[in-house]
């Protein structure tokens, strides 16, 4: 057998011996070992869990933003802060985006699509049946922007808008409430005293959380052409709340603009802001939301979070490593005589170093594995708990990478912090060590 291969096998034999010994002494001092690797367990577990939840919520946020469209710019009406004039209760507060704004935006050459929205609460009636829903005045483009799916009929089209037709597309809940056990298509409902013909019914869908745009329920909404909306309801919408007769006059609640090219989104955003600033003067009654910015913001936030996690991981592993070093130094002192015996029987310094290094590494590896198991367990259990107790969805995304990373760090910590105690052990004078008791 070649000498170097034999050497390798010998090293293997020694390592195996040390490994068995390490496991035995770990088992012998169960409580002590458990306490000494606790830092590593917590560190590894925490990093894996936090990584998973961090990754999960980032993914969630990114998806939300992407659903709004990365090439979109969302312009919203915002109720301006109360000023002295609004003390007069009967005053109708007029604010927000106007049809003039909408017309102007449409003329910008980088804008390939624009969808206005006007939203207000409205009783929806069909003879004696009634449903509290919302009217959304919009155009045909709404369908694409919001990924509308229909069970039957069609969505609004441009001629509906141009001809100011009394047509409506209704949400699933509305159809269910007003036309139970029958098809709603082609039927008529009454909105604000006008008859509207139902041309389409939406598929049931889960509401979109409010990530930048106006939150949309879909199921209780009915959609009418924006021009029809303007003609039948007038410019102002009065939102009467009990005890107050104040109304609001908002022409458009939101305009979703689609930009031709993702690279032009920022410039277009700036132009839109300039326009609004000029036209609305001092009144800050609008808000421009650029999902693309939010994606980058989210990515930056994620990076910051990951940096924070790395710092936490580093600190906890440092603490864990110091714990290991402490216990290994104690072990070396405790087993000085054993070291002396081994040296007398022919162990080289390197053999002693190897033995204690393996012992430290076995400890941290076991700690790392336990930590990883606890961490992975938490990733699965915590969302269930959150659902049951807080009724909140806790997104978690478990990737292999952080698990492998955390565990390999645990091993590295063992080697690093075991090095000094192992070195100390190897430098002991055999005669002194043999005399130790």
């Amino acid at each position: 057998m070649p000498a170097n291969i034999n050497h390798f096998f010998l090293l293997w034999d020694k390592s195996r011996r040390s490994f068995v010994l390490a496991v035995r002494s770990l088992w012998l001092h169960k409580l002590r070992s458990a306490l000494s690797v606790l830092g590593i367990v917590i560190g590894t577990g925490a990093v894996i869990t936090l990584m998973a939840f961090g990754e999960g919520s980032m993914q969630d946020a990114l998806e939300d933003i992407k659903r709004q469209g990365a090439t979109n710019i969302i312009v919203q009406s915002v109720k301006p802060p109360d000023d002295a004039s609004s003390q007069r209760r009967t005053m109708t507060l007029a604010y927000g985006l106007t049809h003039a704004d909408y017309a102007k935006f449409k003329q910008l050459d980088t804008i390939v699509g624009s969808v206005p929205m006007r939203i207000f609460k409205q009783e929806l009636r069909e003879l004696h049946r009634m449903h509290n829903g919302r009217v959304v005045g919009t155009t045909s483009g709404y369908r694409n922007v919001n990924k509308i799916e229909l069970v039957n009929g069609r969505f609004l089209n441009d001629s509906d808008d141009d001809d100011i037709k009394n047509v409506v597309v209704i949400g699933a809940d509305v159809a269910e409430a007003l036309f139970p056990f029958q098809s709603a298509s082609g039927k008529t409902i009454q909105l604000n005293g006008h008859d509207f013909i139902i041309i389409g019914v939406l598929k049931e869908r889960t509401p979109l959380s409010n990530a930048g745009g106006i939150s949309e329920d879909y199921n209780s909404d009915v959609y009418v052409p924006i021009n029809t909306c303007r003609a039948r309801w007038g410019a102002a919408v009065y939102l009467r709340s009990s005890g107050s007769r104040s109304g609001e006059q908002v022409e458009l609640h939101q305009i979703t603009l689609t930009i031709s090219d993702i690279d032009k989104v920022r410039d277009a955003g700036a132009v839109i802001k300039d326009n609004l600033e000029r036209d609305h003067g001092y009144k800050k009654d609008w808000l421009v939301v650029i999902p693309l910015d939010r994606i980058e913001e989210a990515k930056r936030a994620k990076d910051r979070y990951m940096m924070l996690l790395i710092v936490i991981a580093a600190i906890s592993l440092l603490v864990g490593g110091i714990g290991i070093m402490n216990i290994m130094l104690a072990t070396v002192t405790e087993r000085t005589r054993e070291i002396g015996i081994r040296r007398a029987l022919g162990a080289k310094r390197a053999d002693i170093t190897l033995q204690f290094l393996i012992e430290a590494t076995v400890q941290t590896t076991v700690g790392g594995v336990i930590g990883a198991l606890i961490g992975i367990g938490l990733v699965f259990i915590a969302p269930i708990g959150s659902e049951l107790i807080f009724h909140k969805n806790l997104p978690a995304q478990l990737n292999a990478q952080p698990v492998i990373m955390a565990m390999s760090f645990a091993v590295i910590v063992g080697v690093t912090f075991g090095l000094y105690p192992a070195y100390r052990a190897s430098r002991l004078d055999p005669i002194e060590a043999l005399r130790h008791d």
Partner: protein, 254 residues
């Protein structure tokens, strides 16, 4: 007869704070193959220091130490370890077995550090050695489960496993009662009969009486060095024992 151990003008000095302690003062000594030497002397006479030097656990301040034709007085730490693992066997006063290991595993330890791969053959040899010292029925016991005499017999088996040139025994009966002392000494005598060179430190005349040669030390120097013509009677079974030991150790393990 060739001298398996030869030291020439060996000096060992320690520095204790500002005082220099001269533990060995130019000691010269030759021990030949097959001898059984007892090193005696009051405490502080340098007998333990000399044994440590002979055991390659320490290097001399000056002088030469030639062990089996190799000068080991100026070699590095790793080489010293190698010498210990290949040419020397140790027996200690407090047995010094590894508490985590079984009887057989304890006997195996020197083989591991000698650079021997542990396999069925080496295991077989260790088991046979354990049987030879009368512990065939305690192979998987831990040292804690054995009596002092039994532990010392494991230590003897361990000192034999690498077929050493010299067995160094440091007060091998110091922790034992007189009856078990006798057992251990009979065993060492048998080893000597089988051809093993033994150097033993003791302060008891009774124990030294088993050796063939008695060296008395005082103040770091050899005071007297004489053959012990009235060495104790050898065990009647010695012939059989030495035959089986010889055949056992003759088998190559590497």
């Amino acid at each position: 007869m060739t001298a398996v151990v030869r030291i020439e003008k060996l000096t060992k000095e320690y520095r204790l704070e500002s005082v220099t302690v001269r533990a060995l003062r130019s000691v010269s000594l030759a021990v030949e193959q097959g001898e059984f030497v007892a090193l005696m002397g009051p405490s502080g006479s340098g007998k333990s220091t000399l044994l440590n030097q002979l055991g390659c656990l320490d290097r001399p301040t000056s002088g030469r130490y030639i062990l089996a034709n190799e000068d080991v007085s100026r070699i590095d730490d790793d080489r010293l370890s190698e010498i210990r693992s290949k040419y020397l066997g140790f027996i200690f006063q407090s047995y010094n077995l590894l508490p985590q290991y079984t009887v057989v595993e304890n006997i195996e330890v020197p083989l591991l550090y000698q650079g021997c791969r542990l396999n069925d053959k080496t295991r077989q040899r260790c088991v046979q050695l354990a049987q030879l010292v009368g512990l065939g029925d305690r192979l998987d016991h831990r040292p804690m489960q054995l009596s002092g005499g039994q532990q010392q017999r494991v230590a003897i088996a361990r000192s034999l496993v690498n077929d050493p040139h010299v067995i160094l025994a440091d007060e091998p009966t110091g922790n034992l009662d007189s009856r078990t002392s006798d057992e251990v000494m009979q065993m060492l005598t048998k080893l000597n009969d089988a051809g093993k060179t033994i150097i033993m430190v003791t302060h008891e005349n009774d124990i030294a009486a088993w050796a063939k040669r008695i060296i008395r030390m005082r103040d770091g120097q050899i005071e007297t060095d004489e053959q012990n013509v009235r060495a104790k009677v050898r065990h009647e079974m010695a012939g059989e024992f030495s035959a089986s030991l010889s055949s056992l150790l003759a088998e190559a393990i590497r």
